[in-house]
Subunit: 353 residues, 2 copies
C-alpha cells in the first residue's frame, strides 16, 4: 500500500532498455518466472532439483511449462554450468561399417546416463580428422570417442591440451591420449594365420581394405604365416575403404588369374568375404574343400552365407558400452576402472573354413 506504485505496475518490461537486441522469440526461463510469479532461479530449481522447491511452486511451474511448451535452452545451460552433456564420436564412415554396433551401444548407454551423442564423420582421410577436431573441441563436449587411434601428432597434442576426456576405441596403443577400449589388430591377423595353418592351408591369399587397421591385420597375418619372416609370396589384394561386395568378387577373380593354386583367402572385411564366397560359388569352387574363406567383423549376415562364414569377431557392442561407461564415470568423477581395456576378439568357426 505504501510503496510507490510505479514499480508494481511495470514489473517485467523486457525491452525497457535502449539497446534493442533480437531475442530468440522463444519462451525463456524468465518468461516462465514472470508467469508463475517467482524468480527464474526458482523456476530453474523446480526443473532441475524439484526437491528443493515447495510442492505448490513446483506444480505451478509445471503447469506453466505445459501451457507454454517451454523447452530449456541447453546451449545457455551448458555455458553457465560448463557441463555440456554432449559426447562426440568421430567415426571414419557409416557405410557398412563394423562400428555400427558400437555407435548404437554408445547412443543407448549415453542416453541412459543423460548424455547425447553427436556423430562426426571423419572419413578414412586422416587430414579431415584433424580439421574436424577444432569444430568438435569448440562445442566443448563432455567427452570424445574416437574410433581408431589418431596418429597426427598435432591432433593428439590438442586433445590432450583441451582437457576433455577421450576414449580411443577399436585399436590398441602403448600411449593412449587418455582412455582406451580396443584390441590388437596384429593379434587378429596372427590368429587368422595360425588358424588357417591348423587347417592345412599352405597357399593363402589376402584381400584387405586400405585403411590403417586393416593393413595392420594384414601385415601380422603375413608375418605369422611365415613364422616371423614376412612372406612376400603371399598375394595381397588391397581395395579402397570402405570395401564392398563387388570388390571381393573382383579380388577373387583377379587372384585366380594370377595365383590359381591358392587354397584360402583371409578377408579384411566380412563384406569382402561375402563377395569371395559368391564368386567362388559362381565358379563352382567349393568352399571350404577347395578354398577356405575367413572374414573379419562377424556382421549380421555372416552366419547366413553359403556356407556360413568363419570370421574374426569383435564385440562392437561391448566396446561401445564400455567406452560410454568409462567416459561417464570419468566425467562425473567416479573412480573408474582401468583406463585401458583390451576387449580381445574371438574366432567364430563356421563352415567356410
Amino acid at each position: 500500500m505504501s510503496k510507490p506504485p510505479t514499480t508494481l505496475l511495470a514489473p517485467v518490461e523486457r525491452s525497457a532498455s535502449r539497446r534493442a537486441r533480437k531475442n530468440s522469440g522463444r519462451v525463456t526461463l524468465s518468461d516462465l518466472a514472470a508467469l508463475v510469479g517467482v524468480t527464474k532461479v526458482t523456476v530453474s530449481r523446480a526443473l532441475n532439483t524439484p526437491e528443493l522447491v515447495s510442492v505448490d511452486t513446483l506444480e505451478r511451474v509445471q503447469a506453466a511449462v505445459r501451457q507454454t511448451g517451454y523447452t530449456p535452452d541447453l546451449i545457455a545451460g551448458s555455458l553457465a554450468s560448463t557441463r555440456s552433456h554432449l559426447i562426440v564420436a568421430l567415426i571414419p564412415a557409416m557405410a557398412g561399417s563394423v562400428f555400427q554396433e558400437t555407435v548404437g551401444a554408445l547412443t543407448t548407454e549415453l542416453a541412459a546416463a543423460g548424455y547425447q551423442l553427436l556423430i562426426g564423420q571423419s572419413g578414412y582421410d586422416e587430414s579431415r580428422e584433424d580439421a574436424l577436431l577444432d569444430a568438435v573441441i569448440g562445442r566443448r563436449p563432455a567427452g570424445i570417442v574416437l574410433t581408431g587411434v589418431i596418429h597426427s601428432q598435432s591432433a593428439r597434442q590438442k586433445l590432450r591440451a583441451c582437457g576433455i576426456p577421450v576414449v580411443e576405441t577399436w585399436d590398441l596403443t602403448r600411449e593412449p591420449i587418455d582412455m582406451l577400449v580396443g584390441f590388437s589388430h596384429e593379434n587378429v591377423g596372427r590368429a587368422a594365420a595360425d588358424f588357417l595353418k591348423t587347417r592345412g592351408v599352405r597357399r593363402p591369399a589376402v584381400v584387405t581394405p586400405s585403411d590403417r587397421r586393416a593393413q595392420a591385420r594384414t601385415k601380422a597375418f603375413l608375418k605369422a604365416f611365415g613364422n616371423g619372416k614376412a612372406i612376400s609370396s603371399i598375394p595381397v589384394v588391397t581395395v579402397e575403404s570402405p570395401a564392398n561386395l563387388g570388390d571381393g568378387r573382383r579380388a577373387l577373380r583377379g587372384l585366380l588369374d594370377t595365383h590359381a593354386d591358392i587354397d584360402a583367402v583371409f578377408c579384411g572385411a566380412d563384406i569382402l568375404a561375402l563377395g569371395v564366397l559368391m564368386e567362388a560359388e559362381y565358379r563352382d569352387i567349393s568352399v571350404p574343400e577347395k578354398l577356405r574363406v575367413i572374414g573379419y567383423g562377424d556382421l549380421n549376415f555372416a552366419k547366413d552365407t553359403t556356407p556360413p562364414l568363419s570370421t574374426m569377431r569383435v564385440d562392437g557392442t561391448r566396446i561401445g558400452t564400455l567406452a560410454a561407461t568409462m567416459l561417464v564415470d570419468r566425467i562425473e568423477n567416479r573412480a573408474g576402472s582401468e583406463p585401458i581395456v583390451d576387449v580381445g576378439f574371438s574366432l567364430i568357426e563356421r563352415e567356410s573354413t
Copy 2:
C-alpha cells in the same frame, strides 16, 4: 599521471570478486585480449571480421592465438549470436541403411557451408523420435533434417512451434512441417508391380521390412497388382526393420513351403533381395527364369550379385545435397527454391528380372 594509480595497477584481476566460480580453465577471449592489450571485442573482431581491425592488431592477435592454442567456445558464441551453425539429422538407424548416402552428402554439403551435422539415432520406434526431439530442439540447432515424415501430432506441433527450419526427407506428404525432399513410396510399389506384370509375372510374393515406408510400398504393390482391388492372395512376409540377409533367406524358404508356385519376389530392401537370391541359388532355383527378384535401394552391392539385382533406385545423395541447400538457403534468408521437391526414383533393370 593524475589518475589514482589503484585502477592502473590492478587491471584485469579476474577473480577479484568475492564470488568464486569455476571457470573452465581454458583460454578465453578475455585472456587473449589481456595478452594483446586490447578489449575482447577487438579480439572477437580480429577473428571473425578481420577486415575491420588494423593489420598490426590482427597480427598480434593471431600470434597470441598460436601461442596460447586458443579455441573459440562455440557454445558461448551460439548463445550470444543466436546462431548455432549446427544441423541435426534424425535417422532411424545406421545399420545397412539406404540413408547412408544421404547422411554423407549432408555432412559434406553442410560442412562446406560452415555448418556441422549432428546425427541422432531415433530407432524405428516412433515414440523414441518424440523423446529425442526435446533434446534436439534444446540445442537450438539452425536446422533439422528428418528422415521420413514424423507422424506423431505432438511432435509435428512442437517442430512447427519452435520455428526451426525443418526438412523432411525420403517421403512425401501433402502437409509437410516445413520443407520436404522425397518421393512417393506408393509410386515405388506401384512401379514395381507394373514392371513385374510386363514381365509376365502372375503369382508374386512380397518380403518387406516392418517400417512404415516399406509398408507403404508393399500396400501400393499389392493394390497395383490387382488393378485397384487389393489382392489378398499375394503372400507377404514381414520382417523386423532393419532387415538383414538371413531374413531374406528365411523368407524365401518359408514362402516356398507355403506357396511353391510363386514366380517373383518384390523385396522391400536390397539386403533382403540378396538373401532371396542366395537362397534361390542354394536351392537351384534359377533367377530370373523360374523366379524374378526385385529389390529396393540400389545399395552398392546390387550390381554385383548373381545375377545382378534389379532394384528401385533412389538417389540418396541428391536428397542429401538438396536438403542441405534448402536448409542453408532458408537459414541465411536466401530465396530458396520450391519448398517441396519430389526427386522421384528409377527402376534399375538388371538381370534378376
